[in-house]
């Protein structure tokens, strides 16, 4: 079995951000393991994604729904489409345990989203948890902690 290197983890974090920025959302869906979640907590240091409200807690079905919706002819809030840009600090490897299959990175991210004349900036700390699926590194959990998670937002349309 091939084992990932630390650089593989870091490269995948950068790759994922680039795929989103370039709007290659079908490719983005392929980066995930089958039983995986994209989680954006509502509360600082939130522990429970199920019995408390989150901004997002999305499995494969809901991620696919988002991606298919973005292509829809009657997706009115995406006419015109939003665009985004990620600026990533170099990810740090927080856990690297091939025996236990535990791989975790932490990345500081500045995210800019724009549509029409509006543009906004969000800062976040992102933790990626990876797993090996048939010799390929996949995202198992992506946790996005917004710096201002308790602020009132307008529409956040894409993926941080």
């Amino acid at each position: 079995m091939t084992l990932p290197t630390r650089d593989d983890l870091i490269d995948l974090v950068y790759h994922e951000a680039r795929v989103i920025d370039e709007g290659r959302f079908d490719e983005w869906l392929e980066l995930w393991a089958a039983d995986s979640y994209y989680w954006m907590p509502l509360d600082y240091q939130q522990e429970d994604p199920k019995n408390m409200t989150s901004l997002m807690y999305e499995d494969a079905f809901l991620r696919k729904l988002r991606v298919e919706r973005l292509k829809g002819l009657r997706t009115f809030s995406q006419k015109p489409k939003s665009r985004c840009s990620h600026v990533l600090n170099r990810p740090s490897v927080e856990a690297f345990d091939p025996k236990a299959g535990e791989f975790v990175t932490r990345t500081a991210v500045h995210y800019v989203e724009t549509r029409l004349d509006d543009q906004f900036l969000l800062a976040a700390t992102v933790h990626h948890h990876f797993e090996m699926v048939e010799d390929e590194l996949k995202i198992k959990l992506k946790r996005v902690d917004l710096l201002n998670c308790d602020a009132a937002f307008g529409n956040i349309q894409l993926f941080i």
Binding site: K50, F61, K64
Partner: protein, 451 residues
């Protein structure tokens, strides 16, 4: 600014016709100021839930009628609703949204302190006010002034900002049955706020949100992109008889129900602007049973009553002017008007005390799938509001139409149940808007004339 509406109750009354309303109701800054001063001050407005301030000294800060307000739990166990403003220089006493202040509030500017019921407790160097007539001043008499009236209805706290006015019972009347049903869904008849609210900023008028709660002709159009796509994906997946419909599909798919579904579900209206969709059934009717829940309810209430409570599937109940509740999933949204074109929406979810956690899981899922700033369902609603907020500046057309299933001579002071696609509830809201705004303006004019 030319004062077109101030001191002119007739001009304000003329904005509401039986089946259409003037665009200034949504876009005019002067109208916004008048509705904060008159409508929001004269009616009973929801502020918060007592579970947000469980212990003595707990407080919670919010905004009512464009004024800073705080709720505090006093040592006598009562919840006091006070103006969040130091009587000295105007400093807001608390600026964090919630916390515990201990035995008293202390102004961070000059250390004036107040009991948690608002009474002035102490002023540093008080001798400096000796022989100054301080006791007769506004600052010397006020403390943190209470709002006009407070009602704690089974844990839900409402206020009337004015000292005098319609009673809580007269204002809400039969509409309290929706709140009762939501609370009775707990086997011990008690709800608790679960976690912080979603906060969603809308660049539109607050009434667009309230109108939308009983607009049953938009889901299959505006939400085709989310609910329609969900149904398509689900249908394309390989399934067998053991495939369980995921909770997310149960939540999102009914938004794509056909017009007939919404026509048949019915809308009920009550006097003073309150009403609800989902008289016979609703988008919440076909959720899977939660294991063990019905048994708990039957034990608490008896089987017949338990079934009656759970058989109600009211969709959206509007408590005019500022909240909507969803009984079957224990959710409450507060519409906090900030300006004619700016509204903060806070979405709270409740735990049914004594009921299985899976109910809360569904509630939390509903909240994030439908009402979050990251929700693909909410995105298209907000898009429509914002397009309307801009479109209404068109000079060529002045009126917004709410005529669907209107009949001449409609009596909005009577409770009624009608076809679920009627705009009667919107007309009901505007009728109440006009009544309370204009009555208050006329009362102010009389007071000025008497003075």
């Amino acid at each position: 600014m030319t004062m077109k509406y101030k001191d002119n109750p007739q001009a304000v009354a003329d904005l509401v016709r039986p089946a259409e309303v003037h665009r200034d109701l949504y876009i005019d800054d002067e109208v916004f100021e008048l509705e904060m001063k008159h409508l929001f001050a004269s009616t009973w407005v929801y502020v918060g839930h007592e579970s947000q301030v469980p212990n003595a000294g707990d407080y919670f800060a919010t905004e009512v009628a464009a004024q800073p307000i705080l709720l505090a739990r006093h040592t006598d166990g009562e919840v006091y609703v006070l103006h969040n403003r130091c009587p000295h220089k105007g400093t807001k006493i608390v600026i964090d949204r919630a916390g515990n202040t201990g035995k008293f509030f202390r102004c961070p500017y000059h250390a004036w302190s107040f009991r948690t019921n608002g009474k002035l407790l102490a002023i540093p160097l008080k001798k400096g006010y000796k022989d100054t007539g301080f006791e007769q001043s506004e600052a010397g008499q006020s403390g943190l002034p209470p709002v006009g009236a407070v009602k704690n209805y089974r844990g839900f706290i409402f206020v009337r900002m004015k000292q005098e006015g319609i009673s809580f019972e007269d204002f809400f009347g039969g509409s309290l049955s929706s709140l009762d049903n939501m609370i009775d869904r707990s086997p011990v008849g008690k709800l608790e706020v679960a976690g912080p609210p979603l906060r969603y900023m809308h660049s539109c008028n607050w009434k667009m949100l309230v109108d939308n709660q009983t607009d049953t002709c938009h889901p299959m159009v505006a939400h085709e992109s989310s609910a329609g796509t969900a149904v398509e994906i689900w249908e394309s997946l390989e399934k067998d008889e053991n495939t369980k419909t995921p909770m997310a599909m149960e939540v999102i798919a009914p938004f794509m129900s056909p017009y007939e579904f919404f026509e048949d579900m019915g809308i009920r209206t009550w006097p003073n602007g309150h009403g609800h969709t989902g008289v016979h059934h609703s988008i919440h009717s076909d959720y899977s049973a939660i294991p063990g829940y019905l048994e708990m309810m039957a034990e608490a209430y008896g089987e017949e009553r338990a079934k009656a409570i759970l058989g109600e599937n009211r969709h959206n109940t509007v408590y005019f002017p500022n909240i909507m509740i969803k009984g079957p999933i224990q959710q409450l949204r507060v519409f906090i008007p900030l300006a004619a074109n700016k509204t903060l929406v806070e979405s709270y979810i409740f735990r049914l005390v004594g009921a299985p956690d899976m109910l809360l899981e569904r509630t939390a899922m509903y909240n994030r799938l439908i009402n979050a700033p990251t929700s693909i369902v909410g995105h298209d609603d907000l898009e429509m509001y914002e397009r309307a907020q801009e479109g209404l500046h068109c000079q060529e057309l002045e009126w917004v139409n709410v005529q669907r299933l209107y009949e001449e001579g409609e009596d909005l002071d009577l409770e009624a149940v009608e076809n679920g696609t009627t705009e009667r509830q919107m007309r009901n809201q505007f009728h109440a808007w006009k009544k309370f705004t204009v009555e208050s303006m006329e009362a102010e004019a009389r007071d000025l004339a008497d003075a």
